[in-house]
Symmetry: C2
Subunit: 367 residues, 2 copies
């Protein structure tokens, strides 16, 4: 069917009504309440609409009137496109998208560039609620979201007092991983972690910075480690913890190198994400070390790539997190007090962790 070449006269519901000689209500009903008018009249309305090129009720005007946007906003701290590079973020998105789809709701990715402090996009977003995924607790975008008078669900955040949240017990999960390493005999370890705050610090981290970290998830994981190792007499202040701003395998590799340079005697390299761990894995092998014979490497997240690499890690249900966040937000009808969903995690015993070799003899003759 050829489309007419005429300039689209922006037909409105009112002009249609005028053309038909009926009231606006009737036209509105033709679209929204078919049972409120005779089939015959409805047919006439719809057919005249087509003839006039009336595209149906304007969604924005309808939203204004009904106070419903039919979409939820997703705020990510990273560049919008980052979400599509990190497998964990993709999993979260998938789960959230699933929940939205079930509810017939749109999902609006809000462009919140962490570099600029431009919060306007948050204000401009026509949504019925927000999901905030893993942003620093001092992020201005988060503050802007919390000021919007719509329900919000935060993910991987500390208790904000007033909003629903979903997450895992990062501290306990990491503590369990640490216990595992401790039981294997590791005492001298190094750590590679993701960014702890909005400023770039591709270097070692002081204990103060660890405790003051603005990324709840990273803070909790480091706390879990510190607690576990301190409990067996390790002075956590002496443990090299290397931070990286960019969450890439290259960063993981560089941080691993930095840690190994600082203390070549470590028997385990604990990474706070699988991506970093995969990078670290590459780096230690590049240096001729065997894993786990010469050094143990661990991750966190349980992404597929990690599984393929046989990484010892903690698996968390990223997709479920997204879905739970969506459900929480879309159910918020019955919301009375803030709700919190904590999902469970699982220690994955891969092939990258083993007991450290204490002696040269052991090194020669193997297990």
């Amino acid at each position: 069917m050829a489309r007419s070449m005429h300039v689209r006269r922006p037909a409105t519901l009112a002009s249609l009504a005028a053309e038909l000689g009926v009231s606006r209500t009737t036209v509105s009903n033709a679209y929204n309440r078919p049972d409120q008018l005779s089939p015959e009249l409805r047919r006439r309305v719809l057919e005249t609409a087509r003839r006039l090129g009336y595209p149906g009720p304007d969604p924005v005007a309808r939203s204004l009137r009904t106070r419903k946007a039919g979409a939820v906003g997703l705020l990510l701290t990273e560049n919008l496109s980052y979400a599509f590079r990190d497998p964990a973020a993709i999993g979260f998105l998938e789960g959230l998208a699933l929940a939205c789809e079930d509810a017939g709701t749109g999902l609006l990715l809000v462009p919140a560039n962490p570099e600029r402090e431009d919060v306007a996009a948050v204000h401009r977003a026509g949504v019925d609620g927000f999901v905030v995924y893993s942003v620093p607790d001092d992020d201005p975008h988060l503050a802007a979201v919390l000021e919007r008078p719509v329900p919000t669900v935060v993910c991987d955040q500390p208790d904000l007092g007033n909003v629903d949240r979903v997450g895992i017990d990062d501290q306990a999960a990491m503590h369990a991983l640490a216990q595992h390493l401790i039981s294997l005999g590791h005492r001298r370890v190094g750590v590679v972690c993701m960014r702890l705050a909005r400023d770039r610090n591709d270097d070692f981290v002081t204990p103060e910075r660890q405790q003051a970290a603005h990324f709840h998830v990273q803070r909790a994981r480091l706390a879990g480690l510190a607690q576990a190792f301190a409990s067996v007499g390790v002075d956590w202040a002496t443990v090299p913890v290397a931070e990286r701003f960019d969450h890439t395998m290259a960063s993981g590799a560089a941080a691993a190198a930095q840690v190994l340079e600082r203390d070549p005697q470590i028997t385990a390299l604990i990474c706070t994400s699988d991506i970093l761990a995969l990078g670290a894995l590459g780096e230690v092998r590049r240096r001729g070390m065997r894993v786990p014979a010469d050094i143990t490497v661990t991750g966190f997240d349980g992404i597929r790539e990690a599984e393929q690499a046989g990484l010892t890690t903690v698996r968390q249900p990223v997709m479920e997190k997204g879905r739970a966040a969506g459900k929480l937000l879309l159910d918020s009808a019955e919301r009375t007090r803030p709700r919190a969903v904590t999902l469970s995690t699982e220690l994955v015993l891969g092939s990258t962790a083993a007991s450290p070799r204490g002696t040269a003899e052991e090194r020669w003759f193997g297990p």
Copy 2:
């Protein structure tokens, strides 16, 4: 002040203006045109706003007034969550997200479930334009989008006459791949392709169905194959072409099995996507065939997993497609006539294609 209300009616720009004893314009200006009023007055406005809990101008009302939503809609044929499983789709999304981010625009994922014919979500989407990614040409959601009076860019679609589009030359790319196989000596081949229409047909495909395929991309790829092989005397009607509705490795494996059952003599299995090819690869190996010694397997797309598997395939710039689509849409200020962007592809010679046994003299064609 004698305000003893307990239920605070959500403050509006008007109520703020009243409270301050200024006009609504002034308040509006305080937010949108700071240079249009004295800093002092602006400070007062903003501060009173905070006190009253006024969250700033309502985005929907603003959109209605300015006729700008600040977002573009993305229509995918698959379940919303599907987009996060297919690497090619993720790449496209990443590119599109990048373009949106550059423009400070939101990206709304429209829930368009292909099962239901529920087009309402398209009508409900408050967006300034649409990007339509790889949907069948008879998809009602696509029709609904085209009826909306906003600019639209389609991706991987035939020429719709009136809208911008971006894509690759699928037919030429597949033709080139076919030529490569032909020069290696392949004449007896089988094909595995993605769904060709909205109805499920997990079976062989007739030539008619091939030509009438509603998915432009698949139709073009099959046409490229048919043309190349016909030109060397192969009767395309005798070539087994197995279609699969679901785009998964499992589907690829099943389709490969079906083709091999039909004609165990084929020397090459040509798949119209990498995902299918990876599944086919698994299946032929499961059957004890070596690749490429016993059989050649090829894909299409050039996703990372394919590269890792050494698949012979066609690489297309999926991320660039997304970015180009976004740019086209967001530039549509200067749009006069429909524009089309065709990106280039590259034949990737992996390790899964070689001459069929018995035609050793063709091996000079090289690595």
